[in-house]
Amino acid sequence: MSKSNFTRRGVMKTGAAAGAALTLPTYLRADGHAGFTNAPGDSEVVLGFNVPQSGPYADEGADELRAYELAVEHINGGGDGGMLSTFSSKVLDGTGILGREVKYVTGDTQTKSDAARASARSMIEKDGAIMITGGSSSGVAVAVQALCQEAGIIFMAGLTHSNDTTGKDRKANGFRHFFNSYMTGAALAPVLAAQYGTDRKAYHLTADYNWGYTTQEAIQSSTEAMGWETVNTVLTPLTQTDFSSYIAPVLNSGADVLVLNHYGGNMINSLTNAVQFGLRDAQANGVNFEIVVPLYSELMARGAGPNIKGILGSQNWDWKLENELGAKYSGTNAFVQSFGTKYGFPPSQAAHTCYVQTLLYADAVTRAGSFAPCAIDEALSDFEFDGMGNGPTLYRGSDHQCFKDVLVVRGKENPENEFDLVEIVEVTPVEQVTYAPDHPQMGGAEASLGECNNGA
């Protein structure tokens, strides 16, 4: 009689081990042949575009998606090539990335951190995306960046302006081209002082999430350094639509400037309420009452309509930059031409940063000769480039933040057409917005990128 080697306990042990292995996320499994997560095949490579396709920032998300599709078209050799002709690095030749055709999948962040993480996870695990990019909210960007770090995937941030993204929450696998709250404060404060004087009293209304906190901190500290006093700071719920209860007390608070640390629909509604309550026409402390919107966007300006006229803010980029300020900002017109011809209107700054991030990723992979995140980290860190619309730019290695000139803009009094909504007041040189990697607003000495993660 033969004796079976199977025992009840043995079968259970084997079954449990097999079950655990099967339920383990694919990105945590060793990828022996390549040494990194989602190594592409020989013919194509998949990128994941994770943008808000629903929720309050869906309009920004739609513009980001247009830019990503245009970037893919150019990388694959389609269209007029856009910024490939102006980019200082010349390794991209329109044959995809390292000879592989670029494909993409899209996800909907819903402007919610948990939905954004679920969407990114799905693109990594099911679609085999090798890079995730996108966002229109700093809360989302920080959450997805952390996921990508854990998964061994590169995250190229889209529109995210909070200091935290490349400050206290910076990650070795994450990179940001867009500017941040600190830079807004450093660029805007001198212009505010020049326009409105140094003896001003500010009242802040601030969106109650991490972007709002860091923007308020940056504007507050930079304006106080210029001599302004902060009278009050009030947090407003992100879901608020009618700000009248918050606006009404401002006029009698002793303040003569209202700073709206709001973005998207929040900003459109709070600015509208402020104008309704007569703040634009009011006088306080013997001077005209003023309103400041630190972070501008063309889409927001369109939503705010005439209320935005004359109001100062800051931008990462503007489609008129090269026409108005010359060849230093080359790449701008090439991108506007490509985008405008394809879609019929000029690109927003959200579209610009997403397009540039995609090209920068493709370029870094090509220069590194590898899709491995740590190789890309090395290729992008301290990479200096030009011809992408912002002038000479540095991707700083210590925090993965791009350093470039920052625009101070104002709502145009007499727009010539529906796209001509903001005028460039000043371009703040990069030296003025550069800070130390261990700046207190950026998480101080404790903030660290950590180790890059290849995933496998």
Partner: protein, 343 residues
């Protein structure tokens, strides 16, 4: 003192919107016994009637201006408005600027039709179903309407300004002996308050002083007996659904200059309006109106910086706290009738 007056005024316009929506909700619940979670969507559709009217009145065609160029360097296409071609520049401009009041004429028939279609096409099939089913189907409908609006108009709020005659603020404090600029209150919010008061008075008068209203009230009290008298009460109740939709729509049209319409504004108001109905008392029209104003004013007070400093976050929960207290002390709400939702 001035801050208290400011917040009372702020609460009045918000309370007006709550009261109008809650009034419609109560009419539908009182007549048809349906818990209509799509009522906020009707408010939002009203606001978008203002947006659509504004777009229709601003309809234009392009004329190529060879002397100027667009952002791509092509000859600029300039918008030329039809109303200015038809009625002259000044008159055309005035018509475009008065789009919101003009939208009332557009919104009333549209919203009554929407109400009829909603009731006949969907909700009547759920009369005999549990309230949970009614809530699910109407909430689903609200989500569908919201997504259609977002697909059509985008996610960002759309500015729909008040006519120039009503822009700016009234220096209310001067009338009360305060210094200039102490209590500023936008003209359009005053218009909204008085408009709401008129609509509420009109609905009450309609129910109180017309034969139709008397039959409806009788039907609300005892539907079966009214039916036995040979009166087709269902038809009248369907009309009341249309009327409730029109009230919500009018509330939305006039609210458009206060908060720029966007696809989610219906849901923003819906939950609070339900709390208003419950606090006022299910089925009680005066209760809905009183609770609307009460909770609107309380919400304004809770948003004052001095209050938030002492009790952070109170502005987001005050309405629910008050609802809990009122329901603990008066389980039928402020003016609730015995027997409603108690069988």
């Amino acid at each position: 003192m001035d801050q208290i007056i400011v917040q009372i005024l702020n609460g009045l316009d918000k309370g007006s919107a709550y009261a109008l929506i809650a009034l419609g909700l109560t009419i539908i619940f009182g007549t048809l016994g349906v818990v209509n979670f799509a009522h906020g969507a009707l408010f939002m559709m009203g606001a978008f009637c203002a947006v659509i009217t504004s777009k229709i009145l601003s309809a234009s065609h392009k004329i190529v201006d060879e002397t100027r160029t667009d952002f791509l360097g092509n000859p600029l296409e300039v918008d030329t408005f039809y109303v200015q071609e038809w009625f002259g520049m000044a008159a055309g401009q005035t018509i475009m600027e008065w789009a919101v009041p003009i939208a009332i004429l557009f919104a009333v028939p549209v919203m009554i039709l929407v109400g009829f279609a909603m009731e006949r096409g969907l909700i009547k099939h759920f009369y005999k179903r549990p309230h949970a089913d009614q809530i699910l189907v109407t909430f689903g409908l609200a989500l569908v309407i919201g997504e259609i609006i977002k697909y059509t108009f985008g996610a960002n709020p759309i500015q729909t300004p008040a006519p120039p005659a009503f822009t700016g603020s009234l220096d209310f404090g001067v009338f009360l002996g305060f210094e200039a600029q102490t209590i500023m209150y936008p003209y359009w919010r005053l218009v909204y308050f008085f408009f709401s008061a008129m609509i509420i008075a009109g609905v009450f008068a309609f129910l109180q002083f017309t034969t139709f209203g008397m039959v409806v009230r009788a039907g609300m009290a005892d539907r079966e007996t009214v039916g036995l008298l040979g009166i087709d009460i269902d038809k009248r109740f369907t009309f009341m659904f249309g009327l409730a939709a029109a009230v919500a729509g009018l509330a939305g049209v006039m609210y458009a200059p206060i908060v720029a319409p966007n696809y989610s504004m219906g849901l923003d108001f819906l939950v609070l309006s339900f709390v208003v109905v419950v606090v006022g008392g299910m089925g009680s029209l005066p209760g809905a109106v009183a609770a609307g104003f009460l909770l609107g004013i309380l919400e304004s007070f809770a948003s004052m910086p001095v209050v938030i400093d002492v009790l952070p976050g109170i502005n987001q929960i005050i309405i629910y706290l008050v609802a809990i207290v009122i329901l603990l002390t008066r389980p039928r709400g402020l003016m609730g009738r015995k027997g409603v939702m108690e069988e």
